[in-house]
């Protein structure tokens, strides 16, 4: 299973990559929403199953990325999980309304990430081979 980590912080990309790889994911990275769209385009034939999406990023923010992905019928199976410091109820509602499936607020623990993936059925460690 492949995941795309989208965050302008290299530190966060490394942390998320490490946690997702420990679960069995192959991880792609992008530093902003536009880079992420480019990565998805390059993997259109076999897109990742999961994208973790930061909200505040230069060039293209996470919300606009979510809207762009949802406007593209080619990525219907891509699960979008916001991973962000934006913690207000209104922000969460906006992201979910735009097409995000889940929302994880920074800072988070490894257990919280695993819980979200379990809920989404996207924890490779629990997948039936």
């Amino acid at each position: 299973m492949q995941a795309l980590v989208i965050d302008d912080s290299r530190t966060m990309r490394i942390l998320l990559r490490r946690q997702l790889e420990q679960l069995g994911y192959d991880v792609l990275e992008a530093a902003d929403g536009q880079q992420a769209l480019d990565v998805l385009e390059a993997h259109r034939d076999a897109p990742p199953v999961l994208a973790t999406v930061d909200w505040n990023m230069p060039v293209m923010n996470g919300l606009d990325f979510v809207k762009s992905v949802r406007a593209d019928g080619g990525f219907r199976d891509l699960t979008l999980m916001m991973v962000t410091t934006e913690a207000e109820h209104g922000q969460i509602v906006r992201a979910l309304a735009a097409g995000a499936h889940e929302y994880l607020i920074k800072p988070f623990t490894g257990e919280a990430l695993v819980d979200k993936l379990d809920y989404l059925g996207l924890n490779p460690e629990r997948s039936v081979a």
Partner: protein, 169 residues
């Protein structure tokens, strides 16, 4: 950890809790086997993030360069960290702190992008790095003298200061 929030919509206690939560999540959740190797740099790393809206201000995190090296090494589980690693890691810490503060505001507000600068004493390497709100990166470095004094890690050097200041609307 020292806290200053004289004109803040959140209390100093809230800020203390946020700071401890952020450090706990980022540091204690990591593999403690990683042995941080603080660098030789004296000076400070200063990161801030703007909050704008009903309340406008800036959340600032200030940490010794040695402490910042340790924080970055712990976050990245790396034996050594680069200047870029330190800037990015401390920037992410203030980003999360700013998000927590913004989350307590009653009025709708927006969070900027983190800005980080590093400074050292005049006899050592001086590096400054900034990220503008548009995401542009600027960096300037001056070389150190042949031998910089080794600085031992201590509680004082890793002390973190978190400050909230209000901007004119």
């Amino acid at each position: 950890m020292s806290i200053s929030a004289p004109e803040s919509p959140v209390t100093a206690h809230d800020l203390q809790v946020f700071g401890e939560e952020v450090l706990t999540a980022f540091l204690l959740d990591q593999d403690q086997a990683a042995a941080p190797q603080p660098g030789d740099g004296a000076g400070r790393v200063h990161a801030s993030i703007a909050v704008s809206g009903g309340w406008s201000g800036r959340v600032t995190l200030d940490v010794s360069r040695t402490g910042a090296d340790v924080l970055a090494a712990r976050m990245l589980q790396a034996d050594e960290v680069s200047e870029a690693d330190v800037v990015d890691a401390v920037g992410e810490l203030v980003n999360v702190l700013g998000g927590n503060v913004k989350g307590l505001l009653l009025e709708e507000s927006a969070l900027g992008l983190p800005q980080v600068s590093t400074t050292v004493d005049e006899n050592h390497t001086h590096t400054a790095e900034f990220v503008t709100p548009t995401g542009a990166h600027y960096r300037s470095t001056a070389p150190p003298p042949p031998r910089s004094p080794r600085i031992d890690l201590s509680e004082t050097e890793t002390a973190i200061s978190i400050t909230i200041t209000r901007h004119a609307a």
